[in-house]
């Protein structure tokens, strides 16, 4: 989804509903008020995922070929890898994701807020933003490796450069929408710069940070794998490359699923609770 569409979707959504209710999709239909809320919330996603696994399993049974392994083969591959360097590679990738994500969020937010608040700067630099938004990820990665060498710095820079324009575009929308009424109130009562940022500006930008973070995580981890594939000697991307050369689909899927679990855990355990906390004041 385009980041701006995502914002509108998100804003409309969170305005219309009680805090957090969008995450309780289907809770009205789910049986048993005795179930703890976290289980009730998870019921539909679990059912949906089970369906997907069933379809995959059946397809694998029909195909009956090493290039389409079923769940048991993938589990077996995962067990084998876990006895080896599975968590080392997963950890290397997570570390790169974290570094690139933090870099892109902070730089992108600073650029976006500056553009949203200063119309002159926005007019001048919006062409730049469009250029970087449309620059293919692969080009950035290749250029970073050429210019900075096959290093960790080059890898993380390449991922961050891919993500910064998205964050900037999202936060620019947020900064444009800042309330003038509240800014005027703050000026009249003489709030200090720091207090204005903390009490007035950041709370208004919170939904935009949430959208940027959610889209950002999805984008960053996909690009990290490409960066690893092209120029690193560890990480999930590197292992995918290795097993691609061996045509070992079961191991490729084992790494991919491990990574999906990590990303989902970050979403469920960090992003969603934070978002619920940040929007708890809505009526």
């Amino acid at each position: 989804m385009h980041p701006l569409q995502a914002i509108h979707h998100q804003m409309a959504d969170s305005r219309a509903s009680r805090p957090g209710s969008r995450w309780r999709g289907g809770s009205e239909v789910a049986p048993g008020p005795s179930l703890p809320p976290i289980l009730r919330r998870a019921l539909w996603p679990i059912a949906s995922l089970a369906g997907l696994i069933a379809v995959w399993w059946i397809a694998a049974l029909i195909a009956d070929a090493p290039v389409l392994p079923g769940p048991p083969e993938v589990l077996e591959a995962a067990r084998r890898e876990m006895a080896g360097d599975y968590f080392f590679h997963l950890g290397a990738t997570v570390a790169r994701v974290a570094a690139a994500f933090a870099l892109a969020m902070s730089l992108g937010a600073a650029i976006g807020i500056a553009l949203g608040m200063h119309r002159g700067a926005d007019r001048y630099f919006s062409g730049w933003l469009t250029f970087f938004l449309n620059l293919p990820a692969l080009v950035t990665i290749i250029l970073c490796y050429v210019w900075l060498g096959l290093s960790e710095v080059a890898a993380i820079t390449a991922v961050a450069i891919n993500k910064i324009p998205n964050v900037a575009a999202t936060l620019r929308e947020g900064a444009r929408a800042l309330s003038r009424d509240l800014a005027e109130m703050a000026a009249l009562y003489g709030l200090e710069r720091g207090a204005r940022l903390r009490h007035i500006v950041l709370p208004q930008l919170a939904p935009f940070f949430a959208v940027a973070a959610r889209n950002g995580l999805a984008l960053v981890w996909k690009i990290v794998l490409v960066v690893e594939l092209l120029g690193r000697s560890n990480g999930v991307g590197y292992m995918l490359h290795l097993h691609f050369q061996l045509f070992d689909v079961a191991t490729i899927l084992a790494y991919a699923f491990g990574f999906i679990l990590v990303v989902q855990a970050i979403e469920l355990l960090i992003l969603e609770p934070w978002e619920r906390y940040a929007t708890r004041w809505r009526r």
Partner: protein, 244 residues
């Protein structure tokens, strides 16, 4: 424009030559001042430029020809929309204002306006009347020398409006702040103010500046205020206050 501390000891001095929005002249020459502790109503139909004049008096609108001076002491404002931070509790909304004296004083200020039970509520979970009262508590918590109020009773039902009117009188008595209160309601002007400025015409100027015949005790009685309205405003051309 120039802006300075008032040299004459007045709480507010406005000496406006003109206020334009683009090519349109909205306010003409307007001159008045408020003594410390004086309560002045700024009366006029909606759209005459009362809010603009308040913004000029507050110093948030500095794009004017003329100058404004305010006396020593803090400035506070009760906006037409309460302008509370929806992501902060009512207590925090007051406590985070410099000079409001922190959470304990904020709670006391809320008790003062009858919101003791709502002190920890989010602004969007209480009624508009309650939000207005919280905004009033915020304004008075800074112990201002001058309070500007923009239609503090608009869109409140009769019962809430009358309670709010009494509350405004009481908190002004307690803090001794000067007040400039914009309203379109003649009775409200006489119920709250020592003096009434009438804004009218295009561009708007002061068409009247009259001292109220009612003292601060007399104007607490609704029937006295009602009876005083017609004679007080007689002689003002009809149409100036058409929707009052």
């Amino acid at each position: 424009m120039t802006e300075a501390r008032s040299g004459s000891g007045a709480a507010l001095e406005v000496d406006l030559a003109a206020k334009r929005f683009g090519d349109r002249l909205t306010l003409g020459a307007i001159r008045f001042s408020l003594s410390p502790g004086e309560r002045v109503a700024l009366l006029g139909p909606s759209g005459t430029g009362k809010s603009t004049l308040l913004a000029i008096a507050a110093g948030t609108d500095r794009d004017i020809e003329g100058h404004v001076a305010r006396g020593a002491g803090r400035l506070a404002m009760v906006f037409q929309e309460p302008r509370l931070l929806p992501w902060r509790s009512l207590t925090d909304n007051i406590a985070l204002i410099p000079g409001a004296g922190g959470p304990e004083r904020a709670r006391a200020a809320l008790v003062e306006v009858g919101l003791g039970a709502e002190a920890d509520a989010w602004p969007q979970k209480v009624s508009l009347g309650q939000q207005r009262r919280a905004a009033l508590a915020r304004a008075l918590a800074v112990r201002p020398g001058l309070v500007l109020m923009d239609e503090p009773l608009v869109s409140l039902d009769a019962e809430n409006a009358s309670a709010m009117r009494a509350l405004i009188r009481r908190v002004l008595d307690e803090t001794g702040a000067a007040a400039l209160i914009a309203t379109h309601d003649r009775a409200e002007a006489l119920a709250l103010a020592d003096r009434v400025l009438v804004l009218g015409g295009r561009p708007a100027v002061l068409v009247a500046d009259r001292r109220s015949p009612l003292d601060r005790t007399a104007r607490t009685e609704a029937s006295t205020v009602e009876a005083a309205v017609a004679p007080f405003f007689s002689g003002l051309e009809s149409g100036v206050l058409s929707d009052a």
